[in-house]
Amino acid sequence: MGNLLLQMLVATMTSLKIFGLTLLFSLPLGMLVAKGRMAKNPIISNVVNVYIMIMRGTPLILQLLFVYFAPYYIFGSSYDRFTAVIVGYTINYAAYFAEIYRGGIQSIPVGQYEASLVLGFSKAHTFTHVIAPQVVKRIIPAMGNEVITLVKDTALAQTIGVAELFRVAQNASAREFSTMPIFIAGVFYFLMNAIVSRSFDLLEKKLNYYR
C-alpha cells in the first residue's frame, strides 16, 4: 500500500510535468493565436479561426494520436512521445486560451486605448502596462475553469503511452485486482484541482484592489 502510494506520487509528478509544461507553452502561444485571430489581415484571421475550430471541435485524444503519428506519415520522421504529449496539449490549450484572451482584450473599453494614445504611450507600452493587466483580471474565472480541465485532461496522455497518474492507477488496479488505486487517483485529481481552484480564488481576491 505504501509502495502503491509512492508509485502513484511518482506518476503524479509526470502528470504535473505535463500540466506545468503545457501551461508554460500554451499560455504565451495562446496570446499569439489570439493576436492572429484578431489580425486585420483576413487570411491570417481566417486561417487561425479554422485552427481554433478544429482544436475545439475534435477530441483531444484524437489530436494526441495525430500529433504523435502524423509526422511520420508526412515527413518520415518521428519523435519522443512525451514531446508529442506536450505539443498536443499545447496546441489544443493554446486555442482555448486564445479565445479567452480575445474575449478579455475585446472587453477593454476603447477609451483605455485612446487615453494611452493621446498621452503618447507606445503601442507596446499600452499593451503591457494598460491593457494586459486589466485583461488578466477579467479572464481569471474563465482561465480557472480551463486550467482545472487541463488537470483532468492529463489523464489522456496514456493514449500515446505516457505513464501518468491514471495509467499507473489502472496498472496497479490490474495487478491487485481492485478498484482502490483508481479511487485513490480520483482523490489525487480532486486535491490537485482543489489547489488550482484555491490559487485562482486567491489570485482573484488579490486583483480585487480595483474594480
Binding site: 477609451g111 485612446e114 493621446v118 503618447g120 502596462h129 493587466p133 486589466q134 483580471k137
Partner: protein
Amino acid sequence: MEIITIDNLQKSFDGLGVLKGISFTLNEGEVLSIIGPSGSGKSTLLRCLTQLEPVNGGTINVCGQTMVSSTKEGVVSYADKQTLRSVRLNLGLVFQNFNLFPHMSVLRNITEPQMHVLKRSKQEAEKVGRELLKKMGLEEKEKAYPDQLSGGQQQRVSIARALALNPTVLCFDEPTSALDPELTGEILRVIKDLAKEKMTMIVVTHEMAFARDISDRIIFMDDGLIVEEGTPEALFGNPQNPRTQKFLNRYE
C-alpha cells in the same frame, strides 16, 4: 503667437460629412470655447486634432509643425511619425468620461505617462504628481484607486494626468457632462483657475454661463461648420446668425 492653425478641416464617416470645412486659429494663452448642438461635430473636431481620428482633408498646424496637410485635389498627407509624436505631446486631452487607468493608483496614473513618455525618473515624476494633486485638492487621495473616487475627483485626476506632461494646449471635451450637477462645480473651478494662469485651452462645453465666463473667444458650430465666432460678449450679447440666436435662446 499662433499655436494651432486649422484650415478647411474636413471629416466624414462612411461618406457622411461631419466636419465640412473648419478653419480657426488659437493663440498662446487664449481660452477658446466651442459650443453647439449635439451632433454638430465638436467632439469629432477635438478627436481629429488629437489624432484619434484621421481627417479627410484640410491642414492642421500645431506649434509651427504641420501635422497634416492636403492638396487641392484632396490628397491628405500626414507628417512623419516623429513629428506626429511631438505634436501629440503638445496637446493634452481631457476626456468626457475620464478614461483613467483603473488598475493604477491615482498617483501612478499621473506618474506613469511622465516616466514612459518624458523619461522622468520615478522620484521626479512623483514630485510633479504630488504637486498637481495638491493643486487639484486631492493630496489625500494619491494612494486611492479611480473607482474609489467620485466622478468629479476622477475628472480632476485626469486633468492632472494631462497637465503632468506639460502640454502647450489643453483640450476638454464636455468635462462635466458625465457628472451630476453637484460635482460640476469642482471641475469648472479647476478650469477657471487654469484660465487665470494663462493656460492655453480649447473647451467643448454646453455650460453656457461657464463658457461666457472663462472664454477669450467662442466658436458656435452647427452641422459641421463654424456658424459664428467672437468674444463672449459679442456672441451672447448680440448673436448675428439666426441659428446662433435660436440655440442661445434655449439656454436663457
